[in-house]
Subunit: 358 residues, 2 copies
Amino acid sequence: MKKSFSIIAIVFSVSISIFAQRAPRLSSPDVHKDHSVTFRYYAPKAQKVMLHGEFLAEAIPMNKDTSGVWTITVPPVKPDIYPYFFSEDNTQVADPNNTYIFANERFKRSIVDVPGDEPLIHSLQNVPHGKIHYRYYQSSTLDTTRQLLIYTPPGFDQQGKKKYPVLYLIHGGSDTEETWTKVGNANFIADNLIAQGKAEPMIIVMPYGNVRPKPMEDFTPDVINDIIPFIESNYPVIKDAQHRGVAGFSVGGGQTLNIGLTNTDKFAYICSYAPFTATPEFQKNFTNWSPDADKINKQLKLFTISVGTEDFLYESVKGNLAMFDEKKIKVEPIIVSGGHTWMNCKLFLATSLQQIFK
Amino acid sequence: MKKSFSIIAIVFSVSISIFAQRAPRLSSPDVHKDHSVTFRYYAPKAQKVMLHGEFLAEAIPMNKDTSGVWTITVPPVKPDIYPYFFSEDNTQVADPNNTYIFANERFKRSIVDVPGDEPLIHSLQNVPHGKIHYRYYQSSTLDTTRQLLIYTPPGFDQQGKKKYPVLYLIHGGSDTEETWTKVGNANFIADNLIAQGKAEPMIIVMPYGNVRPKPMEDFTPDVINDIIPFIESNYPVIKDAQHRGVAGFSVGGGQTLNIGLTNTDKFAYICSYAPFTATPEFQKNFTNWSPDADKINKQLKLFTISVGTEDFLYESVKGNLAMFDEKKIKVEPIIVSGGHTWMNCKLFLATSLQQIFK
């Protein structure tokens, strides 16, 4: 025992010299069985460190020990996956000791997963797992090569006889093509619902919805003319509207309405989550819109708009719903509590996956 | 024109109110044609902001303008992919405006890609692209479900007649299973070398090498008893040593030596990059090692150890090379300039992919 201990001591001292420039490794976040969570952050020179998290009504101060480590334990929180970050004096930082990071273009936040006593629908469970493919497609619309993510369900067989329906699933405003899996656990939600027989086995395509420097509305032809043909020529999918859906959150919820409702011959399922619709494309499509409501209502097997009552877009979404009502377009509102959050996104997606392709 | 302009103005003001709590969107990094790069960071209250980058000998100060944006343009740098971060007073931060982040457990750094005038071997080029699969396997060794990444080459057919060789590729000490693709562009390196006919089409498996809280050496049985069987039962691969390789960087380079050299009946190709070998497992395997050198030299078709002369492990690696020489094990040293960096990792991998499975 003594010998092995001395070997470990040598390793430790070597490791320290390697990483001398780095802060100490801390365990953060530590999720406890009672759903309380301890966060730790090393900042020996900071005057003030605060914890900001979507499980908190407001930021709370952390407490410094003599070694320069700031700590706070928050009381039990509702099991879910939450974004959080620290502020060290004036600077916002992701948790250096947490690998899981919010895929986003404009901020760096960490993710904490507080598991339920019973497994939540978005959790990694002991069921057959689908794959996520990271792939590249050539966009003639945008004249560039772009990455997209494709979920294939358990048992998927590229060359098999079975053909699948496809959901096109779009992220929020400054998110990326990875946000639906990295923050929204879309793959686990699908795995679990398919295992429970509550969702049809389907392919879920997660494109990158930001087309800068091109104008925002160019994403619609990118989906229609580039992404759908790429998927349909590379995956065993059923190529009709009855087996094609589009869904998205926030800016992606607005894109969902633009893409879906101007292409009801191509999408029988439209699921818009907390849509942001103050865009030129939405105004162009819907300000003086005179739809053939009967035809559209026949084409659409499902059209839902979901939102939380504390979402800052709640009033805007009520306006959207009123507009579609006024145009006689049948839309199912899904109104829940909560804000403009990825906690609600997961709920919305889990709801949609049980409704579509049936 | 006037009308569309006013619509854009409305959108802009709405967007501002949505994101009021966020810093302004900045373009950072801006890589210029002459390979100079401009970095921008918003920190109106900071006293000092520095840029730290692996293209710099030391951190350099950034300059603040009246709007609170700190900027610096660095002179042309050698085209490559580099990690960098900012320090705002005492705090290290990744670039909030840069989506590309170093996949790591202990720090948050950003990535800047400075393209070459001629495309570099790790760049996205107009060639057929493989896929990266994100999958889960059940580890009986570690008693948990773990994620791993699998690169399949262009034209890969899951159910086809063609069977592929497999390279098991391991990340560095605090990296993750994503670091070889997100920082090392392993997939593009393989795409490009396969397109040029310089590498054999192969499957590359990128597992997660960290097994905490289990002892570090448990990764070896995880690879042998869990990962290899998972791959071989789910992918069309050739199941012999001549079509199996293992490679890795730093801590993963040490794991490569442990896994490979104790299993020369299973791996004919061992490629270790800047190995960190001050570990109990390495000491246990090699301190009093009495190998049958003739047998091992016959089994191994390739055994390389790569390192840069400025790597802090250079002397340690020279010691490793001397030890293998002393034991009469044939090893090819690949000594280049540069340090313990992912710039060198890409070079090492590109070299190995042209040597293996031939």
